[in-house]
C-alpha cells in the first residue's frame, strides 16, 4: 500500500526505514493507511470528526507511538484532530510528523490539531518533523496546533523541527503546567526562497514549582520570513526561560517577540533573543582549517540546527 515516495517521506519525518515497532497509525491523503496497537497503547478512530484517540495505559514504559501523516496529491486540505492520553507514571515516545509530496500546481495542506494530556508523573517525549517536496509549483502548507496539559510532576519534552520544503506554516502551541511539572521545548526551523513560518508558543506555569524552557533556533535564508511569538506566564512559584536564536541571511526577515509575564512574586522568568548573521570569526576559523567558504557555512548552519 505504501510506495517509494511514501517510504521516503516516512524516513524524512519519522526516521522510519520500515513499518515501526510498537503502536502506529499512518494517515495518507486523508485516510487511514495502516495501524497497529499494543497491549498498552490503543488507537481509536474518532467518531465525530476526522482523527484518532491514542490512549496509553498508566505505567507504560519504554514504548513508542508513531503517527505520521502523508500528503502526496495536490489540491487536498487535510484536517485532523488527534487526542493523546498519556497515562499516569508512563514514559513514552510519540513521533508525529507530516510529509508532503506535492506533484502539482495547486496547494496541498495539512492542519493537525493535537491535544495531549500528560497525566501525573508521566513523561512524554514528542517529536514532530515537517517536510515538503515535489517538483510542481503547488504550495505545501502545514498549520499545526498543539495543546498540552501537564499534570502534577509530569514531564513533557517537545521537539519541533521544520527543515525543508514547507512553504507556509503557522504553528500554534499552548502548554499548561501543574505543580512540579516540567517542560522543555526545542524548536528548529529553516526557511528559504519565499517561505513563511510563524511560530507561537504560549506557556502557563500554573502550578507551584513548575519549570519551562523554550529553546528556539532558526535560520532564515533568501527572501523568507519568520515570526516568533513566545510567551511564558508565571502564575506561581516557578521558573521559565526562553532562548531564541536566529541566523539571518540574504534578504530574509525575522521578527522575534519573546514575552514573559510574572503574575506571582516568586516567578523567575528570563528571555533572551538574538538575531544576527553567521559570525564572521566562525567562518574564518573553519576556512583557516581548510574548508571552503561554502563548506564552512554549511558546517555552521548544520551544527546550529542540530
Amino acid at each position: 500500500m505504501l510506495n517509494d515516495i511514501d517510504m521516503e517521506l516516512l524516513e524524512k519525518i519519522a526516521g522510519m526505514h520500515e513499518i515501526p515497532q510498537g503502536a502506529y497509525n499512518i494517515r495518507k491523503n486523508g485516510e487511514k493507511s495502516g495501524r497497529n496497537t499494543t497491549a498498552n497503547i490503543d488507537i481509536i478512530t474518532k467518531e465525530d470528526k476526522p482523527g484518532i484517540n491514542v490512549v496509553i495505559k498508566p505505567n507504560t514504559k519504554g514504548e513508542s507511538v508513531h503517527i505520521p501523516v502523508l500528503l502526496t496529491v495536490e489540491g487536498l486540505t487535510d484536517i485532523v484532530y488527534n487526542t493523546f492520553e498519556v497515562g499516569e507514571g508512563s514514559d513514552i515516545l510519540i513521533v508525529a510528523g507530516c510529509g508532503i509530496h506535492n506533484p502539482g500546481s495547486s496547494t496541498a495542506r495539512h492542519d493537525g490539531i493535537h491535544e495531549f494530556y500528560v497525566r501525573k508523573g508521566a513523561r512524554m517525549k514528542y517529536v514532530e518533523k515537517h517536510y515538503g517536496e515535489g517538483k510542481g509549483t503547488g504550495e505545501k502548507i502545514l498549520n499545526p496546533k498543539t495543546i498540552v496539559e501537564i499534570e502534577e510532576g509530569g514531564i513533557a519534552e517537545l521537539e519541533l523541527v521544520q527543515i525543508k520544503g514547507v512553504d507556509r506554516t503557522k504553528r500554534d502551541t499552548e502548554i499548561r503546567l501543574a505543580k512540579n511539572a516540567r517542560l522543555i521545548v526545542t524548536e528548529r526551523l529553516l526557511t528559504y526562497k519565499d517561505q513563511e513560518a510563524e511560530s507561537a508558543i504560549s506557556v502557563e506555569l500554573a502550578g507551584e514549582g513548575s519549570t519551562a524552557r523554550i529553546i528556539s533556533r532558526s535560520v532564515a535564508q533568501d527572501t523568507s520570513k519568520q515570526v516568533f511569538n513566545f510567551n511564558i506566564t508565571g502564575l506561581n512559584r516557578c521558573r521559565g526561560h526562553i532562548q531564541c536564536d536566529s541566523i539571518i541571511m540574504h534578504e530574509a526577515k525575522v521578527y522575534s517577540m519573546p514575552q514573559i509575564s510574572a503574575l506571582h512574586s516568586d516567578a523567575q522568568l528570563i528571555h533572551e533573543a538574538a538575531i544576527g548573521k553567521i559570525e564572521s570569526e566562525q567562518l574564518i576559523k573553519l576556512m583557516s582549517l581548510g574548508l571552503s567558504e561554502k563548506e564552512a557555512e554549511e558546517t555552521i548552519l548544520k551544527g546550529f540546527l542540530k
Partner: protein
C-alpha cells in the same frame, strides 16, 4: 620559507585611516621557532591575520617557498599548509570538540580514518585535556576560556603544517597545563618540519625561540635572541630602578 616584503596594513575607521603595520620585512626560515613579542596593540595579531589571509595587506607581498601567495584566500593558504591558532577562538553552537578536531585532521589526512580517533585523544592530552571528558562537549560558550583556548591549539597541532602561528597560546591557561604546553611546543619543534611562530609575552616561551622578533607601533623594533631579550627585560622594566627587582616578565613566568 615564508617571506614578507614591505607589508603595510591600514584600517579604515569612521573618520581616519589608522596605520596598523608599517613596512614589515621578515624571512621565516624553515623549521625554525620564532617568538613574536612586544607591547599590547603593537600589531602582532594583525600580522598573523595577514599571514593567514584573514586581513589583506594594504601594500607588500607574501610568498611561501618562492610562490607568491598575496592574492590567495584563507582556504587556499590553509591547504598550502599555513595554520593560525586564534588569540580569541570563536565558539560554535552545536559543533562539538570532536567534530571541530575532525575538520582540522581531515583537511590533512584524507582517507586515514582509523588513525583519526586515537589521534584526537592524543591531541587533547597534549594540551592537558582529558579526551573522554571533552570530545562530545559542544565548543560553545559552555567551555571555559582556557578550555576553548586549548582546543584551539589542539586543532592546529592536529595538522601537518608547513607554517603554524600560535597567538598567545598561554593566555588563560593555568600554570600546570602551561608547563605541558611549553613541552608540547618544544616537542613539535624537535620532531616536525613545521616553521613555528608563537606570539607570546612569556619567558618560558621566549626560552624556546631560535629568534625573537619585537613588534611595536606596527614596526619591527628588533630581531634578536632570547638571551638578549631576557636580559633586556630584567634590566629595563617599567620599574626604573634598573636592577633585577622582579617587576618585569620574570614575575609572570
Amino acid at each position: 620559507m615564508l617571506e614578507l616584503r614591505g607589508i603595510s596594513y591600514y584600517a579604515e575607521t569612521r573618520n581616519e585611516t589608522v596605520r596598523i603595520l608599517d613596512d614589515i620585512n621578515i624571512k621565516f626560515e624553515d623549521r625554525k621557532l620564532y617568538v613574536i613579542t612586544g607591547p599590547n596593540g603593537g600589531g602582532k595579531s594583525s600580522l598573523a591575520r595577514i599571514i593567514m589571509g584573514i586581513n589583506r595587506p594594504t601594500a607588500g607581498r607574501l610568498s611561501l617557498d618562492g610562490e607568491d601567495i598575496t592574492d590567495l584566500d584563507i582556504t587556499s593558504r590553509a591547504r598550502l599548509g599555513i595554520g593560525y591558532a586564534f588569540q580569541n577562538p570563536p565558539r560554535f553552537k552545536g559543533i562539538n570538540v570532536k567534530q571541530l578536531l575532525d575538520i582540522s585532521v581531515q583537511s590533512e589526512q584524507v582517507g586515514q580514518t582509523d588513525k583519526k580517533a586515537c589521534d584526537t585523544c592524543a591531541l587533547l592530552n597534549n594540551v592537558g585535556l582529558c579526551a573522554s571528558e571533552y570530545l562530545h562537549r559542544d565548543a560553545d560558550t559552555s567551555l571555559s576560556g582556557g578550555e576553548m583556548k586549548r582546543i584551539e591549539i589542539a586543532s592546529i597541532l592536529s595538522r601537518n603544517l608547513k607554517f603554524a602561528v600560535f597567538d598567545e597560546p598561554e593566555a588563560g591557561i593555568d600554570l600546570w597545563s602551561f608547563a605541558k604546553l611549553a613541552e608540547t611546543f618544544e616537542n613539535m619543534h624537535r620532531t616536525r618540519n613545521t616553521t613555528i611562530v608563537i606570539i607570546s609575552h612569556q619567558e618560558r616561551i621566549l626560552e624556546l625561540a631560535d629568534e625573537v622578533i619585537v613588534i611595536s607601533g606596527g614596526k619591527i623594533e628588533e630581531v634578536t635572541t632570547k638571551q638578549k631579550i631576557l636580559a633586556e627585560i630584567t634590566h629595563t622594566s617599567d620599574c626604573s630602578c634598573g636592577t633585577d627587582c622582579g617587576k618585569g616578565v620574570g614575575m609572570n613566568a
